[in-house]
Symmetry: C2
Subunit: 399 residues, 2 copies
């Protein structure tokens, strides 16, 4: 992948790099690209069920969904992946109607082991299917309630390393296990992440890209506090959702040693659809938004607009015999050019080679490192989420 | 529906109401709730195809998708509705693979009649299916290229009133025709809208709700420039997208007689899923966001969490025998309470009775009027989108 930036250059102090380098071993996600995946791959290859249900919410499902939705338009996965995350009864009803329960594997994922949505749905499932070691897998922190349950009932269990936060866990067993089961090449996924990791820690290209961009965001937090990710393919829809959680939950914080509430607001957009929606606000609205475009260099698809002329619409014949992939990329370029013409909308472009495992592995690690670096620069803890605890306590009080 | 607001009260000058009242006849969407729908209903009742494909982007599809996704979890529609809006080749390929082309009706929708995405896809369809009056319907402005084509080829044609903008057109033929075909009760949809319209123009409850809220947003545009819609049911996912277009594209503008770029940034959230994502940013991030919660009073569903105790998780038995609809509503209440405790996050709650046509009709008209009133108050034109024209010109230049 390439990242072309249109921000002014800026020297980044070495302090940030030193701090991050010293965190290796403490912040667990840095090491995920180098893990041994033999146990996961072997387990995955022995799964016989056709339906795979991920029961998990937030960090326990968003990364897996990002990869699945990225690849599913092109790959014909033999197994079907479902997500049960919401307590919404209309959605739950509709999901369970589609399942042949006997041919289903349930993967119960909760880092803490006691997420209320996940456990409520788990209970509901247990009213339909008896707990058994062929149809249930547990992914949770070591020592959690769910881990203890798995041990007692001899259920297959995979650990989430304690130092890997939920929204940084897609490359741990949380994402790798369900993805390996449906047939995603998780080795290539990690290889993509590893490329970015090595380039960053060797302070080569990705280090330059990430620190320059982070420093622009941090220095302009008072002005450009909204960061739009404008992804030009439907394949990125769930990736955008993953980005929103990563960015919003990691950076929306009280600063260390301060009373200040700071944060950068993530927005996920899909092109060209959102050219007909949010774009007007970017072009003419308040100058508080930066935009990162994601483009696919090679869609690996041939779907041409036919050489057909429609009466009264001959003025649009200029797209005849153009490939749709060429049209969508030119649409992206036209919007990029029109925004650059404004001179006051900060933007950059990320271009991936193809829609495949390696590319999304790169994207994950790029955005994770970007998040960690921005967090250092604005002096917040990227890895906690204290703001959501009060609501949980209040909920419990209602019952 | 009810709208409970936690903003301080404020006297709204009558000027705004007078200006809007004088626009009746000029701004077309005000009159849509009172239109005669006989022709649409009759046409719809004669459609025999099982697959209905809406070919249209932005305002030509978002409203229809909002209603369809709102109702489809509960209603078992006999016909299937598809949307072709993006020029993304991977998505187009995957959609067309699912279609039995002989059993498909194509509804080509473009207000201008020359939307590049829509016409490119139309051409692609014409390479698969010959243009014929049984399988193609045109919805467009009177006198547009598409209208002329329909006239020449004797295709069924429905008009979009010239004074109804794309993002305000869901209650015109744009939304009503495809929705009536799949079996949505469009009379009830309009009846919901009419309730809000009458209450607004009689200056009763909806007038109070809308003008108070609009005046809060307008007066605080410098501080709270991000407006989150936090909807507690998966059924609202596409409604949120509709809101984002309406709000962003209508309010992100250069002010009349001014050099200023102004705008309010819409964010769409789904509860409880986004409690595990964006919520942290609302609670602890910069104080630049207001939140509107949407709740469903009666989910009309019984799906209880069973009375099952899981070893090591007995501390969560407090949800046993609770209905999921009760849990999701209490989750919303707990978040509302925790935000109110902060004292500096402006919020309001919209509660609809049930998930049905009347409720979403009310929501459409409420948000449309809110948009029109805020636009008046911040002195922008809610009904144009000049910012997106430059990109179109540049695109054309590439070919």
């Amino acid at each position: 992948m390439e990242n072309k930036q249109f921000f002014e250059a800026f020297n980044v102090e070495n302090r940030i790099f030193d701090e991050i380098s010293h965190e290796i071993g403490k912040i667990g996600y840095y090491e995920l690209p180098d893990q041994n995946i033999d146990v996961i791959s072997e387990f995955a290859s022995n799964v016989t069920q056709k339906n795979i249900v991920v029961v998990g919410i937030g960090g326990s499902s968003l990364g897996t969904a990002a990869v699945y939705d990225f690849l599913r338009y092109k790959n014909n996965f033999e197994k079907k992946l479902f997500f049960c995350e919401s307590t919404d009864p209309v959605l739950l009803n509709s999901t369970f109607k589609k399942l042949d329960l006997e041919d289903t594997l349930f993967i119960i994922i909760s880092k803490s082991g006691s997420t209320i949505e996940t456990i409520s749905i788990f209970k509901y499932i247990l009213s339909l299917v008896e707990l058994n070691e062929k149809q249930f897998v547990i992914i949770s922190d070591k020592g959690s309630s769910l881990h203890k349950l798995a041990h007692d009932k001899k259920l297959p269990y995979f650990e989430i390393p304690a130092n890997v936060g939920g929204r940084f866990s897609v490359l741990s067993s949380v994402g790798l296990l369900p993805l390996a089961i449906i047939g995603v090449d998780i080795k290539m996924l990690l290889q993509g992440a590893k490329k970015i990791k090595e380039s960053f820690f060797k302070q080569t290209q990705s280090y330059q890209d990430i620190t320059h961009k982070a420093s622009f965001y941090a220095r302009n937090i008072g002005k450009y506090n909204i960061n739009c990710l404008f992804s030009y393919s439907e394949a990125f829809r769930s990736f955008n959702d993953w980005y929103i959680q990563l960015w919003g939950e990691s950076l929306g914080k009280k600063q260390y040693n301060s009373y200040l509430n700071v944060g950068l607001t993530p927005i996920g957009l899909i092109g060209p659809t959102d050219q007909h929606s949010f774009l007007q606000l970017i072009v003419e609205g308040k100058r508080d938004k930066s935009v990162t475009f994601i483009k696919v260099k090679d869609f690996d698809s041939i779907l041409k607009i036919p050489n057909i002329s429609i009466a009264y619409l001959e003025n649009l014949d200029y797209v005849n015999e153009v490939d749709f992939s060429d049209l969508i990329n030119k649409q992206a370029d036209s919007i990029i050019e029109s925004l650059l013409n404004k001179n006051d909308i900060p933007l950059d472009i990320i271009e991936i080679e193809k829609i495949n495992e390696e590319a999304i592995g790169q994207l994950f690690f790029y955005f994770e490192l970007l998040t960690s670096v921005v967090a250092k620069m604005i002096n917040v803890n990227a890895y906690d989420q204290p703001g959501v605890e009060e609501g949980k306590k209040i909920l419990r009080g209602y019952f």
